[in-house]
């Protein structure tokens, strides 16, 4: 099992292991619904939706997310996020795969602005058109247990599950498709990759220009371009800081001397 997979599995279990105590004032910047009976932390998106509805500025919630983002960038997306882990697993299903056009990456910013901030601001925090109403993680973690326990199915429930199945189909064919196209936490954390103290350094060893790192990259952010420019690979909006480009570099594995020549 890959080191990252081990961390993802451990995080999945650890984040959903609350037998009673909670730390719900702390927003954990991963897509994990705080309505899950076993969750420890608050979901920043759920909190932002409510603050938008309250017409208040989320000092503590935004401060927490910003602090984590400055320290680690989108490291949590690659190593901690349970929904990211689910996407990694679903992408392993043998099916036809697609390459997403670059413009689709911008959709998540619209999701953040409209479904998380503007619509709850104008229609209230309990509006049926906020992101929480369609969040696939919330459907798995909160709506599904609720449907099983109560047996109640509304139009809203049907809409939620329709979105969930559409997202599942999407991430089977598009690697980390939800992160790249729809995730509002990804949109929130993306600019922080440029500020983060955490860096994905260029692998030791002479670059073979094989672009293996580009092919391995789960979010197609072309780390080779930054490696050849002498920049950390995670200085890209959609990098989930998985370190796959660094750890699986064939040149580094072969133990070549330091790469200094840009491609």
């Amino acid at each position: 099992m890959k080191k990252r997979t081990t961390y993802q599995l451990a995080a999945l279990l650890a984040l959903h292991s609350s037998w009673g105590p909670e730390v719900k004032w702390l927003c954990n910047p991963v897509l994990s619904c705080h309505s899950c009976p076993l969750s420890w932390f608050a979901c920043p998106i759920g909190v932002f939706v409510h603050y938008a509805g309250y017409h208040l500025f989320p000092f503590v919630a935004l401060g927490t997310v910003l602090l984590i983002g400055v320290l680690a960038g989108r490291l949590f997306c690659g190593w901690i996020c349970p929904f990211g882990y689910l996407q990694d697993l679903l992408y392993k299903i043998r099916w036809r795969k697609i390459v997403l056009p670059d413009w689709t990456r911008n959709i998540k910013y619209l999701v953040l602005v409209f479904l998380v901030l503007l619509i709850p601001y104008f229609l209230g925090e309990t509006t049926h058109f906020s992101f929480c109403r369609f969040c696939p993680a919330a459907t798995i973690q909160a709506a599904l247990p609720s449907v099983i326990s109560t047996g109640q199915i509304t139009y809203g429930t049907v809409a939620r599950f329709a979105v969930l199945f559409a997202v599942i189909g999407f991430v089977i064919v598009a690697r980390r498709g939800f992160c790249r196209v729809l995730c509002p936490i990804g949109a929130l954390m993306a600019p922080l990759n440029y500020l983060s103290w955490w860096v994905v350094r260029r692998p030791r060893g002479q670059c073979l220009s094989c672009r293996a790192c580009d092919r391995l990259c789960p979010t197609d952010v072309h780390p080779s371009e930054r490696f050849s420019a002498g920049l950390p690979a995670n200085r890209a909006l959609d990098c989930i800081v998985c370190h796959d480009c660094q750890g699986l570099c064939p040149a580094a594995a072969a133990g070549h001397a330091a790469c200094e020549t840009p491609r």
Binding site: G20, E22, K24, W25, C27, C33, H34, S35, P37, A42, C43, G46, V47, V49, H50, Y51, G53, Y54, H55, L56, P58, F59, V60, A61, L62, G63, T64, L66, L67, G69, V70, L71, G124, E125, T126, S130, C132, R133, A142, S146, L192, L195
Partner: protein, 94 residues
């Protein structure tokens, strides 16, 4: 720079409080805005009903936001539950 902004937001959030009224539909217990060190509503000595705050900290508002424990009507925030009662795990209706 980012770290400074993050710490500033957390510092401001530490001191910000939000006025919250009790939903008129909920029976009114005495209003005493007091919290324990860990952010819980202080229970009167000798047990009995806890006091209901008239304002809550930003941290407490985050907790309430996780289960829609507060709603906005007009420009006023209201508790949607009786905060003087013990609060177990809560699910968000959204």
């Amino acid at each position: 720079m980012g770290l400074v902004v993050a710490l500033a937001l957390l510092a401001i959030g530490r001191f910000v409080s939000h006025p919250v009224a009790l939903d008129p539909a909920i029976e009114s217990p005495p209003v005493i805005p007091e919290f324990t060190e860990d952010g819980q509503i202080k229970t009167p000595e000798g047990g009995g009903r806890a006091a209901v705050p008239s304002a809550i900290s930003d941290r407490e508002l985050v907790i309430n936001a996780t289960f829609t424990g507060i709603t906005r009507i007009g420009e006023t925030l209201f508790f949607t539950y009786d905060p003087s009662q013990p609060r177990g795990k809560q699910a968000c209706p959204t």
